[in-house]
Symmetry: C2
DNA sequence: TCTTGAACCTCTAGTCGCTAGAGATTGTAT
DNA sequence: ATACAATCTCTAGCGACTAGAGGTTCAAGA
């Protein structure tokens, strides 16, 4: 186990510049270097980066991942803080789904109502110009 | 109708720096100025900014809004390009909902499976470390 | 051993859609 | 005249990368 950054990249499916970025922000520890200053990674880097990547895929932000990693390193502590992080994330995903569902409905209505004639008669343009013609109180999409 | 940037901001509910930003990127035309170089807006700015704000609330990106505005200014043309823009956006919203729905399910499972004991036994940490323990092929959340 | 060339290095800047601040000027009400 | 809120320009920062320039190192084949 003595992987170049390219090897690690292929193995974990994280791009090379992203790995360097994670090192820069202190998410992945700086590995040892060859005499020519090239990075060489070991098994612990593979598993840590896999964790990071999986958590990113699941939508956690870097701050949350930082906390999750530090919890994972303390196996005797209660896992409650980790649960809290996941719960918070779940709630934000649910809020997001609710917003997007309203949005989808609004967009579908716009497309259904459109008569596909000249812009002058286009419902899409009219609705965009006037939120009162919307069916829902879709909030801002954040 | 001769609104300061603050008046316009309150009327359309778009923050002052955002209005200046829209001017900078060419989304909102530069208004006339007072002798002391302060911006003064008219009715056409109110309606254009309302359009922009509504489209942003509906999740359209600036490029799409640019195209929609330029279409809106040509009332005799076919509205098909506008419909296309909305359709593209709808499809991306639908993809996003599908991803987030998978994600929600995964996060719920993680929370359900967790025994709330020490980190060593925490399913959340275990699943994060190993995607094979996931129920779904949740893709990357983009 | 030498030579090639892919992979690596650092550093800077760009993405998107704002948001925040500094420091100076203008408008308006008393 | 004075005070003070609002405005001005300019620059930098957010999150999570991504792209590129310009230079160096590694590893494989001749
Ligand atoms: Zn139409
Ligand atoms: Zn609306
Ligand atoms: Zn747990
Ligand atoms: Zn997974």
């Amino acid at each position: 186990m003595d992987l170049s950054i390219g090897d690690l990249s292929r193995r974990v499916a994280v791009k090379v510049p992203t790995i360097r970025y994670y090192e820069q922000i202190g998410l992945l520890p700086a590995p040892p270097r060859t005499e020519g200053r090239q990075r060489r990674y070991g098994a612990e880097h593979v598993s840590r980066l896999s964790f990071i990547r999986h958590a990113r895929d699941l939508g956690f932000d870097v701050e949350a991942i930082r906390e999750l990693l530090s919890l994972a390193a303390q196996p005797d502590q209660s896992c409650e803080p980790a649960d809290q992080i996941v719960l918070r994330h779940l709630e934000s995903v649910e809020r997001r789904i609710a917003q997007l569902t309203l949005l989808r409905s609004e967009l579908r209505h716009m497309l259904e109502d459109c008569r596909h004639g000249p812009v002058r008669e286009c419902r899409i343009i009219q609705v965009l110009a006037d939120h009162d013609q919307c069916r829902h109180e879709h909030g801002k999409v954040s």
